[in-house]
């Protein structure tokens, strides 16, 4: 008679298939509790017109159905915020990339003081974004050093209203992002340049290619993957911009520096439009899940 072995508790540690599941359980618990349940909840709350001034609990709010999604299309502030964020992205990412890549290329050889200079260059990235925003507030206030330096250079008193003029305020936000994240591109591209093999480049020189031609035709193709990864990560991160406008301008003047994140924060927490804010969050989440799913492909190795 074959005695059927009963499953034991310690099997979870002994049987590979069970151990595999056991290892995944903690992350599942925290993920479901803090992210998945709220996400499911969003679908309901997003279809109500909940504002906490009138009904304290979300389940007491009036259910208006999927019409709420159509309302998003009429929210001009939200649409403008999306457009503005995309503009910031479109300016900031190429500038950061060009600057960072140039820096990495200039720093690629050996020279005196390289280690120290690299440390100094990477420092802005270590600064927490909120404080980075605050330093730029200090720099760009009308009585601040940026106007001071410009005054010194031009020889006459310059007082550009960096933070109170809509265009300049947006420019300031872009500048912080460039200041803080150019080092990121610099680090990635430095690492990539180091890993490029020298033989093909030397071969190209021997065959009589110019420096620029070699760079374009030999070095660049070998840097394709790191370049794509750096660009994608920066593009996605720049869509999340929140700390800088929050610390520097608070979204103002008017709505000049309202990014998507700032807009959601403001309509949710300042005007307490929880229902419509949740709908908008959901729209952003779905759009970015789709974009993100394809964008992370190069990272998959």
């Amino acid at each position: 008679m074959v005695e059927k072995q009963l499953p034991r508790l310690t099997d979870w540690f002994r049987v590979p298939q069970k151990f595999k599941t056991l290892l995944i359980i903690p992350v599942q618990i925290i993920m479901n509790f803090t992210a998945m349940i709220p996400f499911a909840l969003t679908w309901y709350v997003g279809m109500t017109d909940w504002t906490p001034q009138f009904t304290t609990n979300w389940w007491e709010a009036t259910f208006i159905g999927p019409v709420s999604f159509l309302k998003v299309a009429n929210d001009t502030l939200f649409l403008e915020a999306i457009l503005r964020t995309l503009t910031i992205s479109a300016v900031v990412v190429p500038v950061e990339f060009m600057l960072g890549f140039t820096m990495a290329y200039v720093f690629s050889g050996r020279f005196f003081g390289k280690k120290f200079l690299t440390l100094a260059l990477v420092a802005p990235m270590m600064v927490i974004p909120a404080v980075g925003g605050w330093t730029f507030f200090l720099m760009f206030v009308e009585s601040g050093p940026v106007n001071g330096i410009l005054s010194m250079l031009t020889g006459s008193k310059v007082s550009i209203p960096w933070l109170t003029n809509p265009t300049y305020a947006l420019l300031t936000i872009m500048l912080v992002d460039i200041w803080q994240w150019t080092p990121f591109i610099f680090l990635i591209m430095s690492a990539a340049l180091l890993s490029v093999p020298q033989e093909p480049i030397n071969a190209a020189y021997v065959l009589g290619a110019t420096k620029w031609y070699t760079f374009r035709k030999v070095t660049l193709p070998m840097l394709k993957r790191p370049m794509i990864i750096a660009l994608i990560l920066r593009a996605i991160e720049s869509l999340k911009i929140f700390d800088y406008p929050y610390m520097i301008t608070g979204g103002g003047p008017g709505h000049a520096t309202m990014t998507i994140s700032m807009q959601l924060y403001e309509s949710g927490f300042k005007y307490l439009k929880y229902g419509s804010t949740t709908t908008e969050s959901l729209v952003i989440l779905i759009a970015l899940i789709i974009v993100g799913w394809y964008a992370v492909k190069p990272l998959r190795g």
Binding site: R14, V27, F39, V122, L138, M139, L187, A191, Y246, V296
Partner: protein
Amino acid sequence: MNGRQSAIFYTIFRLIFAFGAVFCALFPLYWMLTMSFKDMIEWTPTEVHWWPWYPTIGNYLILFFPKDLVVQWGFFKPYIMLISETAVKSITNSLIFSICGTAIALFVGTCAAYSMSRYKAGGDYMFLTFRMLPPVAILMPIVIWYATLGLLDNPIGVILLYGLFPVPFVIWLMRSFFDELPKEIDEAAIIDGASPATTFVKVILPLVRGGLAVTALFIFILNWSDLVVALFVTHRVAITIPVQIGLYYSDAGHLYGIMSALGVFAIIPTLVFGLAIQKYLVRGLTFGAIKG
């Protein structure tokens, strides 16, 4: 221009470029540092003060000592009205939340990473996509959920989120460290009679402890830098340093020096840890895709 001349030209260009870049990178930090030592009358002068003319440590004192005491010592009488409490609470909060959150993220992430690396458990790309989403959009539903549970402005709520948001980084970083270990080590341990759990805890984890340390510091930096999460789910009790900096900023007046002092305080750990793991930063920020 012959080769030698062009080499000299390039060297000079490189030096000028490097120093220009370093100046741009460091000047804002220099400015905040000096601002934190400036007296109130120098906060918004009509003419730019390039260094503190009347250096003071009053800004730092006000962060750590009750305001009556600081007034007694003779610092900042007019602005003192705007400050309700010291920053000690937010600093301890930041420390506790960051450390606990890092511990949770490290635990759940490392387990999952090992499962994904050795047993090909799925879900790794899902976490990568999760990281690509803007935290603000994820937080709006979480705030509603937390309000239902009564977890708003509660340390546990913040710690849970600090344990959740960095998990994709932990998974992908630790996975890259696990993948570097040859599979034969696991197989040898199994053949010697160790169970999968023993292999993981007693054989593999000690081998990646360097990677664990790097990941822990990296996650600590991420959590310490966070403004958004704390801003959304805290109000008074559980505020952290970045939120506190924003609280000193009000329509009544910008407390330039005090905010800068707290800012300097906030960036010290990230600067120290960040420069310590500089070699691994590329790997961390690219989710292990570029080894650096």
